[in-house]
């Protein structure tokens, strides 16, 4: 099997690794997998952590390794911080899944600071209010829909201010 095909297979496999706190969405759909590097003796998965104090991160690491090793390869996970993870890395499919789970997805890119309009994941109304930027997990905020009178959660928008990245090759 050539390298590219193998990589694709691994990506498919990583689809089975879900966010421990939002079990409908995979780490691939969250945009956390930055790269897969094929070494002779192991497969290195480069992962962008989402929220820095997120307690799920170690669990995700173990689950990634298990998923790849179930295919018969040795795997390693490396967390990297460039580029920073931002909420607009979540894929279209991922955004749909969040919504079905009752979590409003973060605003679609391009997102501008101070312009967060959130549609209710249940009735689509824009008549919603932010109750608490901070929610039950680091990644979520709490909102209330004035139309269907449901409380709901939304993924907190995380965006990067303009910054020039010196890449690792510097």
């Amino acid at each position: 099997m050539d390298v590219e095909r193998k990589k694709t297979k691994i990506f498919e496999r990583l689809q089975t690794v879900k966010d421990p706190e939002i079990p409908v969405i995979s780490v691939v759909e969250l945009g956390m997998i930055e790269d897969i590097v094929m070494h002779d003796d192991c497969i290195l998965i480069k992962v962008l952590p989402t929220f820095l104090g997120c307690p799920a991160i170690d669990m995700i690491k173990d689950n990634l390794i298990q998923a790849v090793e179930a295919m018969g390869d040795r795997a390693e996970v490396e967390f990297i911080y460039a580029p920073p993870w931002t909420s607009d890395r979540i894929t279209k499919e991922g955004r749909e899944k969040l919504k079905k789970f009752g979590i409003a997805p973060p605003p679609a890119p391009p997102f501008r600071q101070g312009q967060w309009t959130v549609a209710c994941p249940y009735c689509e109304s824009l008549h919603t209010v932010l109750e608490n930027v901070f929610g039950p997990a680091a990644c979520r905020s709490m909102l209330y829909c004035k139309a269907c009178k449901n409380p709901f959660e939304a993924m907190k928008p995380i965006f990067q201010k303009e910054r020039e990245y010196h890449s690792c090759s510097k």
């Binding site: 820095l52 104090g53 911080y81 460039a82 920073p84 930027v133 929610g135 039950p136 680091a138 709490m142």
Partner: protein, 273 residues
């Protein structure tokens, strides 16, 4: 915890000691303040605040972990060990951040001062945002990357504390009086937060961050805007009334905090959690 890459880049920094000193300051500041914040859990003015404050503390402790892990890659020992086992005299956090929340303890008669919490956390968040802004340009790339990542979370912290600060300051009556007292107390220690410490000039020389005086000036400009928004006259230069934490000078409050913080860890330091 998360593994960090690229210890080989360390060679780019000529003055490794200055880099390590800076990282200890950043790590210890976040570590002890996240602990003080956590002591408020269940005691904050209302349940929404409990959630928000806990979330902020969780972020902040996460930032401390990243700095300790970076120190680990630089050969300082295991992150858990350097976080838990260093005595107060080796800590580099500013004294302001270690001070108890009030009288009593979390378990017994906690009479914590919410005004002090708001002012301490707000001023520290503003400071931290400015500092990260500088660190994003640091010559040590792994630190510059971390700073960029942490910065995006800080945005929400500043926003949160700003609301409390402005509303309490502008509400008059007892709230105003308590906020003024808290501002006086926090400002009386804030020079310790701003300080780069005894080898700060070497950090600057290694281009880890900008000159201390330039940083100081920029921060004061920001603070003057903040004071003027709530009609508080600028209280003059910040002071360092209770010692210079960057030199290892600390109060009894830090010793007590470390004992509490490490109580479970000390039961069996070799346990894998």
């Amino acid at each position: 915890m998360t593994s960090k890459s690229s210890p080989e880049k360390v060679q780019l920094i000529e003055d490794k000691q200055a880099l390590i000193e800076l990282l200890y300051q950043l790590a210890d500041d976040d570590f002890v303040l996240a602990f003080r914040g956590s002591e408020w859990l269940g005691l904050a003015p209302h349940i929404e605040e409990d959630i928000a404050f806990s979330s902020i503390n969780q972020d902040t402790m996460g930032h401390a972990v990243l700095y300790y892990e970076l120190l680990e890659t630089l050969g300082e020992g295991k992150a858990n060990v350097i976080a838990h086992e260093r005595p107060a005299s080796e800590r580099r956090n500013a004294v302001l951040l270690e001070l108890a929340n009030g009288t009593g303890t979390y378990l017994e008669e906690p009479r914590f001062d919410w005004a002090f919490a708001v002012v301490r956390h707000y001023f520290y968040s503003v400071y931290k945002q400015e500092k990260l802004h500088v660190l994003e340009k640091s010559s040590f790339e792994p630190l510059a990357q971390l700073a960029a990542n942490i910065q995006v979370e800080l945005h929400y912290h500043v926003m949160h504390w700003k609301v409390w600060f402005q509303q309490l300051c502008l509400s008059g009556g007892e709230a105003r009086k308590r906020m003024e007292a808290a501002i006086k107390q926090v400002w009386g220690e804030f020079a310790g937060v701003l300080s780069f410490g005894p080898i700060g000039d070497r950090m600057v020389k290694s281009q880890l961050l900008e000159a201390e005086s330039a940083f100081h000036t920029r921060f004061i400009v920001e603070m003057k805007k903040i004071f003027s928004k709530v009609n508080v006259p600028y209280p003059g230069d910040p002071q360092m009334n209770s010692g210079d934490g960057r030199k290892g000078e600390h109060t009894g409050d830090l010793k007590a905090a470390l004992a509490t913080l490490s109580e479970v860890y000390d039961l069996d330091p070799h346990t894998v959690w």
